[in-house]
């Protein structure tokens, strides 16, 4: 019950981690089924239809329900601590964001249970995703599930922007903010400006499917390429929404485990902003073969290649940070160091794909599959593993078993390269993506087999990580405040896990790497910026849970509106009635939230002193 009503950002972070981790397993299982299907030529392990469904759900789940929530988990767990804040700006909204994400994700996966699964690819290209070609409820689940989950992402992004702008501790100027906070800041800005485009795209597709609108139906004057533009003006920034937090994590981890200040901090900040900006300028590189013409292709080609410049700055800065440092290869750093060459490889194939004429050759081949998995798995997932291992003690008060963590890294890392490295060559040899079978004798057999073995190895690595989580959770909570002993930022100055109010006294920040600076000056902790006093906290609330549930019911009802009989003899169907009940539930919760004043509660001074006495 406590977990259903919590508005504490640390607990919401844990909820995001559990839910995102669960969907990561679902998406991973789908991936393994895909790879088993492709392990030999003309395999019929799953049918063609099931293969399309697996492919669609794997992509959708991994991007929206696994990667983004785990990023949000770390942002929730860490950002307020890194900037010296007691809380996020909108604790209620934060909780609402989690519940809409979760119910949207559940709605999407209900499709597996009812047997109408989305099958038009994660990009849902029109007119394939329209009612003519996808005439069961599969794509309805996609449209409504993502719409509901998207609400959560958008309000989460706004919450972090306001938190970072308005709630930094005294002395924490923008140019003293830790890199992870910076990357979360830019990521949140990208979410704010990218997700509403997806909202419109999904709404238009929903109108096409449920109410016979004509946005993307060429026979009624609609335009299928319009969908591609709308999808990618969201979808390309989305790539940077995913990768920038990983950059932030890598910057923190490499600096900590090299015992050195991050090399070129201000150029890192500048590069992050520039990547965020350019992320919006390049969407049409997904559409080189659509027929936009040579001028558009040339411009988008050049803009895309430009992104390599700030990214290169980042790569070199990480290398220079390690240069001459006293590097310790504990598990978080192992993932971070493994990230660098892997991500560089993904970047290089990105530049290859950015050359429009060459892209006509690579287009829709396994080369593309290899490229984006190098970026998203080799980049983001390694980054997330690094971050999860790094901040685990702060989140749960227990250090993950180092031996198992190293084993996770090596199985996952080797499995990853086995899976995707060979796919470059499969693509260059002409194996198309999105096919469920290939013929014998084309020279694809061995590399597909290797790829499947690699995928199983990655699955093994994930299982080892889960074992590690179980093994660690039976240990007592005894992680020290600064478990890596070289903590540089504010989160390492408070106990692990932190008390509800984070900081007994707001710290005074005197420089970049605030805690490290105090250590260098011979101080044992931060200088407080305020006297000890009672702390005001927001009250927990069940409303966000019911709002998420309301959206779920509404989505489910409207989806089946055409199928079910009339409601008590009116023009409305039972589906409509259910949908309206769901929406009313949301509106009533909004009304209650607005009318009932949340006075919150105070944590009294002696309670804080008791906490301090216990830990000090």
């Amino acid at each position: 019950m406590d977990w259903l009503t919590t508005v504490d950002h640390k607990k919401i972070g844990i909820l995001y981690l559990i839910a995102g981790g669960f969907f990561f397993l679902v998406g991973g299982l789908e991936a393994i089924l895909i790879r088993i299907q492709l392990w030999k030529p003309q395999n019929d392990f799953v049918g063609a239809d099931t293969y399309n469904e697996l492919l669609t759900m794997h992509g959708t789940t991994m991007i929206f329900l696994a990667a983004m929530p785990v990023i949000f988990a770390l942002m929730n767990a860490v950002i307020p601590l890194q900037i010296g804040a007691r809380d996020v700006a909108f604790p209620f909204v934060n909780s609402l964001g989690f519940w809409t994400f979760l119910f949207g994700g559940i709605l999407l996966n209900v499709s597996w249970i009812v047997g109408d699964v989305p099958d038009a690819g994660w990009t849902a290209y029109a007119p394939l995703a329209g009612s003519t070609y996808s005439n069961d409820h599969g794509m309805d689940y996609y449209v409504l599930g993502l719409q509901i989950a998207g609400i959560g992402t958008l309000i989460g992004g706004i919450n972090f922007l306001v938190t970072i702008i308005n709630m930094r501790a005294p002395g924490m100027t923008f140019m003293r903010m830790p890199m992870f906070t910076w990357s979360a800041f830019i990521t949140s800005a990208l979410i704010l400006f990218a997700f509403p485009a997806l909202t419109v795209g999904l709404a238009a597709l929903m109108f096409d499917r449920l109410f016979e609108a004509n946005f993307f139906d060429p026979s009624a004057g609609g335009n299928a390429v319009l969908w591609e533009h709308i999808f990618w003006i969201f979808g390309h920034p989305e790539v940077y929404i995913l990768i920038l937090p990983a950059f932030g994590i890598i910057s923190e981890v490499i600096s900590t485990f090299s015992r050195k200040r991050l090399f070129g901090y201000s150029s890192m900040v500048f590069a992050t902003i520039l990547i965020g900006f350019l992320g919006f300028m390049v969407w049409a590189h997904h559409m080189f073969t659509t027929g936009l013409g040579p001028v558009a292709n040339a411009l988008f080609s050049i803009a895309t290649m430009l992104i390599a410049v700030p990214t290169g700055i980042k790569i070199f800065n990480w290398l220079f940070t390690m240069w001459g440092g006293s590097i310790s290869f504990k598990s978080p750093n192992l993932f971070a160091v493994g990230f660098i060459p892997t991500f560089v490889m993904g970047g290089v194939t990105g530049v290859m794909l950015a050359a429009a004429p060459a892209d006509f050759q690579y287009h829709d081949s396994y080369f593309v599959v290899a490229h984006f998995h190098y970026v998203i798995v080799g980049g983001l997932v390694l980054g997330l593993f690094s971050g999860v291992h790094y901040w685990w003690p702060k989140m749960f008060g227990r250090i993950l078993n180092e031996g198992l963590a190293q084993l996770t890294f090596w199985t996952f890392f080797i499995g990853f390269h086995l899976t995707f490295f060979v796919q470059h060559f499969l693509g260059l040899m002409g194996m198309p993506r999105r096919i469920w079978q290939y013929l014998d004798g084309l020279g694809f057999n061995e590399m597909n087999l290797i790829s499947t073995i690699g995928a199983l190895l990655m699955g093994l690595g994930t299982i080892i990580f889960l074992i590690n989580v179980v093994v660690t959770s039976v240990k007592p909570k005894n992680a020290p405040a600064d478990p890596w002993e070289d903590g540089r930022t504010l989160e390492w100055t408070i106990p692990s896990p932190p008390p509800e109010y984070n900081f007994a006294q707001t710290p005074l920040v005197r420089g970049y790497d605030a805690y490290w600076k105090e250590k260098q000056d011979g101080h044992s902790g931060m200088t407080p910026a305020e006297p000890l006093g009672p702390i005001h906290m927001p009250s927990p609330s069940i409303l966000p849970f019911f709002m998420g549930l309301g959206f779920f019911i509404a989505g489910f009802g409207f989806m089946y509106a055409p199928d079910w009989g009339h409601f008590l003899g009116t023009d409305l169907t039972v589906g409509h009635a259910i949908g309206i009940v769901g929406l009313l539930m949301v509106l009533i919760c909004m009304l209650l939230r607005s009318v009932i004043d949340d006075h919150g509660f105070h944590i009294e001074e002696d309670e804080i002193k008791r906490d301090l006495g216990g830990k000090a």
Binding site: A89, L161, F193, N214, G221
Partner: protein, 205 residues
């Protein structure tokens, strides 16, 4: 979190910015409006891409009645002005005048909405249904999204009026009023673009 630093019973000149919660709310709402801008921008883009695809349905220049739309525009722009008066009354701590200006704003908003509903019904009789053509789908989606925003604003401000009547002007209610005012202006700005891009351009081209 600093609600208690403020002395009870004494309201500052700008009560909406007196607490950190209030300042957070206002900044968060500015950002939200940034997202709304992208939302409407995408709707406009879709409309512009599809506005010549009228098929067998009526074309925009046969359809639009500029006089009706001009009345609607005048009403909505006036409501933006009255919402400014409401915020001014709030800064002078005149709760009664604040409530009255908000009521006028809501009434004007409802008048706009009534004209829009009449307009849609009228178009429907002219054979311009939601499913008629790509032009009609994108028209009703863009203008309808705006109408839905107006409706939401009317409900929201009505609720605020009730709250103000019950709880008075405090550092809790003031940011809510201010934010609702920002929302109302935003709706107006969007309408100005709709008037230009949808109606005027529809008449000309």
């Amino acid at each position: 979190m600093s609600a208690h630093t403020h002395v009870e019973g004494h309201l500052p000149h700008e009560p909406e910015k007196a607490t950190l919660e209030g300042r957070n709310k206002i900044l968060g709402f500015w950002l939200f409006l940034g997202g709304e801008t992208v939302l409407f921008g995408t709707l406009f883009a879709a409309f512009l891409a599809l506005r010549h695809q009228v098929l067998d349905g009526p074309a925009p220049n046969e359809l639009f009645d500029l006089k009706l739309v001009a009345y609607a525009t005048a009403i909505l722009l006036t409501s933006s002005l009255t919402s400014v008066f409401a915020i001014q009354a709030m800064h002078q701590h005149k709760v009664k005048s604040l409530i009255n200006w908000l009521i006028i704003t809501v009434v004007l908003g409802a008048g706009f909405l009534a004209l829009e509903i009449y307009e849609f019904v009228h178009y429907l009789h002219l054979g311009h249904g939601f499913t008629t053509s790509a032009f009609s789908s994108s028209f009703y989606t863009l203008v309808g999204f705006h109408g839905a925003h107006v409706l939401f604003g009317i409900l929201w401000i009505t609720l605020l009026i009730i709250q103000l009547a019950k709880k008075g002007l405090t550092v809790v209610t003031a940011p809510k009023v201010y934010v609702a005012g920002m929302y109302w202006h935003f709706i107006d700005v969007v309408w100005v673009f709709i008037f230009t891009v949808v109606y005027l351009m529809g008449k000309v081209v």
